[in-house]
């Protein structure tokens, strides 16, 4: 019975913790502008993130060490530094966006300007990182994130033309009056939002925190193989709600309030409460993960002691790195930059840096010195290689497309 509960909790946590502000915004923006024509990007991204997260989990469970730690050792300081720089800058930008997302969710609930909520949001994140036990932290925001299932309920309630949605999803082309370059740009943004590097870094390091062994691999795989696809269904529901309710009204999503509009229209005040809880949980959870990921990356590269489960006095540099990262993210958001714009830029820049994160994981996952017989199977290597080529192609075109389309205008 305990085992069943543990599995269930883990799966639910994986589902609820999958989405962050990037997914919320990207799926709503795309649904409101392109309908379901970019829905295919979500399963492509899900397969990719599932594949590489499984590799990271396997590396951690077998070696007892975090992936980034091994990357530095296996590939050398220079390659490790390139990996660190790419993922650290993107993680900080992502964390800023999540902090902005928390503040925006609180503004929608209270009417108080989001900038006034930013210091509160950061303080809350810091307190949880400092004080809350690791397992509690994961399960709390993971389960609260399940509130985003409200998008699925709202989509059902809106009574869409399911055939029309399927036709749009199968079209694989932009709607009339939209250019291919802009459509491709948003496809890359969605792909970047689905395959954010910080989540893999966090997942691997949390495995070390929870002292995974090869026995824990089965549980981790179930959480990954079930949780991520179901999380992908939530992302499709967000896109679907925007496609059904906002696109016909010529509303293009530019703020978090518009993301919630279809849910409020379908379910009223109850829907509004649930969706705001979901927004808060998703952004807060992602802020925790990205804050910890920033600390993990630096500590593992420089060889500092690290771990949220360890007393702060034993890991001073790790805690300092997290604190400084949070402060940097706070100051960035307090400049008044639109958090939604920060989100959009962070996911595209993330797409541009994906090979630097995932190639080293691929290399380590094939190293028998660390994994023995549990290296990648031939099937995993084939699919992984295909994805590495895809990641490289995406990273090459991401920035030029951003410039050419002026960030999707």
């Amino acid at each position: 019975m305990r085992l069943v509960l543990s599995f269930t909790l883990g799966m639910l946590t994986a589902v609820g913790g999958f989405l962050d502000i990037g997914d919320l915004v990207a799926n709503a923006v795309i649904g409101s502008r392109f309908g379901m024509s970019l829905a295919w990007v979500i399963p492509v991204g899900i397969i990719g993130i599932t594949l590489f997260t499984e590799m990271a989990a396997r590396v951690t469970a077998v070696s007892g060490r975090a992936v980034f730690d091994l990357v530095r050792e296996r590939l050398g300081a220079r390659a490790g530094l390139a990996n660190l720089l790419a993922s650290y800058v993107i993680t900080l930008l992502t964390m800023s966006a999540q902090i902005g997302g928390i503040a925006l969710a609180l503004e929608l609930a209270s009417g108080i300007h989001y900038l006034l909520w930013v210091p509160v949001a950061v303080a809350l994140v810091w307190i949880v990182v400092w004080r809350m036990p690791f397992g509690w932290m994961e399960k709390t925001y993971g389960l609260l994130g399940l509130a985003l299932v409200v998008f699925g309920v709202a989509l059902w309630q809106l009574g869409p033309d399911w055939g029309g949605l399927m036709t749009s999803a199968a079209s694989l082309s932009p709607p009339p009056n939209e250019e291919w370059s802009v459509w491709a740009y948003y496809g890359i943004a969605l792909f970047g939002a689905t395959m954010t590097p910080y989540s893999v870094l966090f997942f691997s390091s949390s495995g070390v925190e929870e002292k995974w062994t090869p026995r824990d691999l089965a549980t981790a795989r179930i959480n990954i193989f079930f949780g991520f696809p179901v999380g992908g269904l939530l992302a499709l529901a967000i896109m679907g709600c925007a496609a059904v309710w906002l696109m016909p009204a010529s509303v293009q999503v530019e703020d978090l309030g518009q993301v919630a509009l279809p849910v409020v229209a379908a379910l009223g005040r109850i829907g509004l409460i649930v969706v705001l809880v979901g927004f808060f949980a998703a952004t807060f959870g992602a802020a925790l993960e990205s804050a910890l990921a920033s600390g993990y990356g630096l500590a593992q590269y420089f060889g500092w002691p690290w771990g949220k489960t360890k007393p702060p006095e034993q890991v001073p540099y790790f805690q300092l790195a997290i604190l400084l990262g949070l402060l940097a993210g706070t100051l960035f958001i307090l400049t008044g930059l639109d958090p939604i714009k920060v989100v959009e830029y962070s996911i595209v820049l993330s797409a541009g840096a994906l090979p630097l994160t995932y190639l080293p994981i691929f290399v380590v996952a094939n190293d028998r010195g660390y994994l023995g017989d549990r290296v990648n199977s031939r099937f995993t290597n084939i699919v992984g290689s295909v994805y590495l080529v895809l990641l490289l192609a995406v990273s090459i075109v991401a920035i030029p497309l951003m410039l050419y389309t002026k960030a999707g205008q």
Binding site: V62, S63, G64, E73, A77, R78, L81, A82, L85, V89, E107, L108, A109, S110, G111, N177, P214, A249, S250, V251, Q252, E254, D255, G257, Q258, A260, L261, V264, A265, G268, R269, L272, L276, G303, Y345, L349, D367, R368, G369, Y370, L371, G372, D373, R374, I399, M402, L403, K406, A407, Q409
Partner: protein, 168 residues
Amino acid sequence: MTGSEPPRPRRSRGPRVLRPVRGARGALAATALVLAATACTAPALTTEAYHHDALLTTGDLLSAVRTGILVAELAEDDRAFQPYLETSTKDVEESARSLTDTFGALQPPAPACDPLRDELTDLANASVHDLSALRIALKREDAAGLAEAAEGLHATASELTELQEELR
């Protein structure tokens, strides 16, 4: 599966000599340049470019106005809480105001573009006015003001839709 070989022991690390990664500063500078370039509003040097900017502005204004209409409907049906309604309206009002300022700052490339500029500027100002009226009515919980604002938004949305079709 069982591991037949033990994991490789940690290699001893010699003295750490970190050479600066070449191009790291350049990469950061390039990133900053990209972000700045995509955020800039380029001048419209040709009539075609001006029409394109006008089309984009019309579409964005229409989005803001239609959002206002949806919010007004939710308020009339009492389907949402005040903070959400006020915040959503405030956000699109600010967006409309920003669009008005940005388009107004564009230099028409030829006198032939002046009528378009006048028409879109008037519609932009009307959008801001109607959304402000909605925000004020919501804050005051003024049902009559809400209905009046919604009517204004509907009229502005119709004109924006017509202009959008002309420009396509």
